[in-house]
Amino acid sequence: MDAQTIIPKRIALELRDGMLVNLGIGIPTGVANFVPPGIHIFFQSENGLIGTGPIPEEAMTQPRLTDAGGRPVTAIPGACTFDSAMSFGLIRGGHVDMTVLGGLQVDEHGKLANWMIPGKMVPGMGGAMDLVTGAKRVIVAMQHTAKGKPKIVKQCTLPLTSARSVDLVVTELAVISFAGGRATLVETAPNVSVEQVLAATEVELVVPQQVPQMQI
């Protein structure tokens, strides 16, 4: 299994029946493909939709039914649409149970940087700052390292997305929780040792005596 499969598959295990969930672009989008059977998840697209369905076949696209990247989506029966004030009221107001976002860096306290690289990439924060600030639970889906360099670092060198700490970071190597205020190694990916995770992480992780393997 590659990172594009391991990460969303593991995050999908965090889903609970009836949750309102917002998925970011990239690896996070894949979480929708691994919803456990028998539960219903309300997926929100921040451009104003709850109940996003699969990507339609080309001939079935509707130009006014799109995701947050402007690409065609479908709406499942029971979906609803709303304006941007309502959409961000849902996000900022704590009505979104869980958000899954990509990350550039996460620091030792779980603070996330994911919206710009000064002088290089200035996409703008879009909805990321509101999501990290307002969602009940924030999960970061990212590769453990970038070009061999750790992304879980003592201090972010890139601008922060929010002063609020994220709850969980899921990578192709490990699950790391910040629930207790300190970065704690919760699980390792299949065929990955604790030592491998530690070597790829700049932050000193709390390592319990038993570190279970991801059940994916």
Partner: protein
């Protein structure tokens, strides 16, 4: 409310005007009004919208035609041209978190001086802003935004100006329709008065100044 040709409606917009433009990655942007702005060559515009779309669509056409002095938006990631012009200093770009941007516009339309939001506290967004504590929690004071014109895309309009929007094309449209001195609407379909059920009207007619049909 007055119905106008697209040429006459856009002729009312002077150079240097501030425009709120509906749309999310150009979905819900009144493309015909944008095209006419380019044709008439309006200059030195300030554009307020969620994003600057992608080259060839929506707000991006105004940027390519060099008609924009300043952009206020939450996301420019799909438009490399906006990023280049921002980094080179050719165009001023103010990046605002999306939820803050829409609330600043809403405040402008609802008669408020601004809003208090937790978004941006402790980040680069806080620079130059007042931090206000309410019940021990930190918020930023974000001031209201208004514009000279709102350019709105609707799905249905009746001849009074009542509007509905379609699916994800609603986004910023009903909010900007409250926050500008003059509201110009492009509608897919214009229907007789009474055809839109009162419960389904999303923007009440008195807010609309000019209706152009596309």
């Amino acid at each position: 409310m007055q119905t106008l040709s697209i040429e006459d409606a856009v002729a009312k917009i002077p150079d240097g005007a501030s425009l709120m433009i509906g749309g999310f990655m150009a979905v819900g942007t009144p493309e015909t009004i944008v095209d006419e702005l380019v044709r008439q060559g309006k200059r030195e515009l300030t554009v307020i919208g969620n994003d600057t779309a992608m080259p060839g669509r929506g707000i991006a056409k105004l940027i390519t035609a060099k008609l924009v002095r300043k952009v206020i938006a939450s996301h420019i990631g799909l438009n490399p041209e906006t990023q280049q012009k921002m980094l080179s200093g050719e165009m001023e770009v103010e990046l605002v978190p999306q939820g803050t941007l829409i609330e600043r516009i809403r405040a402008g339309g609802y008669g408020l001086g601004g809003i208090l939001t937790p978004t941006g506290v402790g980040t680069a967004v806080e620079e130059g802003k007042r931090r206000i504590e309410v019940d021990g929690r930190a918020f930023l004071l974000e001031t209201a935004l208004r514009a000279d014109f709102a350019l709105v895309e609707a799905f249905l309009a009746d001849y009074l100006g009542n509007l509905t929007y379609a699916l994800t094309a609603r986004n910023f449209n009903p909010v900007i329709a409250m926050a500008a001195e003059t509201v110009i609407v492009s509608a897919d379909h214009v229907v007789p008065i009474g055809m839109i059920s009162p419960d389904h009207v999303m923007t009440p007619a008195p807010l609309v100044d000019y209706l152009v049909t596309s």
